[in-house]
């Protein structure tokens, strides 16, 4: 399937999940990601899969946990308020080392907020979100093609590291239609010798986050963090544009990075050398890479659809090499090209 087709972002996620071998999907409706459950409700029965509308996000993520323990590739999707409820299950799955793919098409918050795209859940996604010491592997696609490609990748990484993998998009990205080439169908799924399949000819498997024995939890958390260290070493993804000769560097992910690309065209046309650093994995954050890039520019402007969340990671990692400025739009508003242009011009 190498033909270009036009697809909505949310539907691209659904089809990519099926191509990745996902046959179980559990979710509770919420805007702006309702195209995903609708798509899965239609498609999964056609491929012998299970679509189930859960009674809540708490239930949906628990169903995901059960299906994952049974060895299946499984996904759920939601948007910000629903993802808050899913934190319970995410924490339990992280403790029990169960792989799953969770999609968050972020909307404006806090609370019910609004239904426009936003990036206010960066802290929640990258800092754990639920209770306890753990990480979720967070991937932030920047267009519809990437939504599809990184959904497949998310399943691979989730299984490889037995970790919860989150696709962090937003309402704008989910609703937009773009041409894409669908990823190849995954032919062979990885064996899961730890799954619950019945203790036939082997000792029973127990999958749990509970570690009551003296010191057991300490050892367990250290083991989790050994796994996280491997992920930080091997799985960082980022993208750059026009950085070779840049004096100024914009840092943005997802929808914000698309606005930045427009601003770069305007600024470059006026002779101002500006480029883009786009983290794709938000955890693991491209720490070393952004530090290297920072050494070569005079100033950084971080652009987000929030009051400033990722900017903290930018400051921590790049702040000692150059000034880090911030421009954000909360409440479901898109960054404005002209505002980025004016801000960068003010540095010259």
């Amino acid at each position: 399937m190498s033909e270009k087709i036009l697809m909505k972002g949310n539907e691209a996620i659904g089809e990519a999940a099926i191509l990745a071998g996902c046959r179980h999907y559990f979710a509770y409706p919420i805007t702006p990601q309702n195209e995903i459950p609708a798509y899965m409700a239609k498609r999964l029965p056609q491929v012998g899969g299970t679509f189930l509308q859960a009674e809540s996000e708490l239930a949906a993520v628990s169903m995901v946990m059960g299906a994952s323990a049974g060895g299946a590739r499984v996904m759920t999707s939601s948007s910000s308020p629903g993802i808050s409820l899913k934190q319970e299950g995410i924490s339990y799955m992280s403790g029990a080392q169960l792989p799953a793919v969770i999609v968050n098409m972020m909307r404006g918050g806090p609370g019910l907020g609004n239904i426009a795209g936003a990036q206010g859940d960066y802290f929640q996604a990258t800092r754990g979100g639920g209770n306890g010491d753990y990480h979720v592997l967070v991937i932030a696609p920047g267009n519809v093609q990437e939504l599809a490609d990184y959904t497949v990748k998310a399943f691979e990484l989730a299984d490889k590291y037995r970790i919860v993998c989150m696709i962090l998009g937003d309402g704008y990205l989910g609703q937009m239609s773009e041409p894409l080439i669908l990823p190849e169908a995954v032919k062979e799924l990885p064996a899961k010798d730890w799954a619950l399949t019945g203790a036939k000819g082997r000792d029973p498997h127990i999958i749990a986050s509970l570690r009551l024995a003296d010191g057991a939890l300490v050892g367990h958390v250290y083991d989790l963090y050994k796994n996280y260290a491997e992920i930080e070493k091997n799985e960082v993804i980022y993208d750059t544009q026009n950085l070779e000769d840049a004096d100024y560097m914009l840092v943005a992910y997802g929808t914000s990075s698309r606005v930045c690309k427009k601003a770069i065209r305007v600024l470059r046309a006026e002779g101002i050398k500006v480029g883009l650093f786009r983290p794709v994995t938000l955890w693991p954050f491209p720490k070393k890479e952004i530090a290297e890039a920072a050494k070569k520019v005079k100033k950084i402007l971080t652009v987000e659809m929030s009051m400033g969340q990722m900017v903290q990671d930018v400051q921590i990692n790049a702040g000692k090499y150059c000034d880090v400025d911030f421009y954000g739009e909360p409440g479901g508003m898109l960054p404005v090209v002209e505002k980025i242009v004016q801000r960068v011009k003010s540095y010259v």
Binding site: A59, V64, T197, G198, A208
Partner: protein, 251 residues
Amino acid sequence: MSEEKIYSFPKSIREVTTHYCAGCGHGIVHKLIAQIMDELGIQEKTLMIAPVGCSVLAYNYIKADGLEAAHGRAPAVSTGLKRVQKDKVVICYQGDGDLLAIGTAESVHAANRGEHITVIFINNAIYGMTGGQMAPTTMEGQVTKTTPYGRDPKQVGWPIRACELLNTLEAPYYIERCAVYDVKHINQTKKAIKKAIQNQIDGKGYSFVEILSMCPTNWGVEPQKAADWVRDVMEPYYPIKCFRDGGEKTK
């Protein structure tokens, strides 16, 4: 006369020291489940879902694949697991706080979908694990850590009857309430659990067995008094009976 073995340790239970208190109902029900697993020959295909509550370590006793659920979510976790492992026997074991307070939605909806699982519900009228707070099934006037003056239904509502509640739904196949306060009732409970598991093996649908059970520790009484209290105080409010069999409501 040749010797016949009439009783032994069930194969499906691990020979470990129990953490349950003396006179607790959990241990009795665990043994029944293990005996039934032996009798039905399903130890190798049983998947045991442990709740959050005193029985959180159920998988340390029942010798089968085991999975932990968050507090109240066992029916949803069971749903996901059973939808993947369709030919296995999924036992969803829960306490009253788990099933009827924090997990009411999951319980009602799994039953309403007619999930092909077997729910074992230990009603001990208290939160055992956290040290004896009011449960949704705590009796009127019952003193607990959080109802120090006795449960006042005007303030905190009446004890909830799980079987009767679930029996309003269309989908459930089998609903029965039992007790484990004496040998006769333990034997009846065993029959009910066995039927509930056989239903799942036969692909019949959702089966629910409520078991009135003792928590001597948090009721603050000796084991025999606890058993008597189930009979004298709980049973009149929670009638022991089969509410639904073969998908049909019983008269």
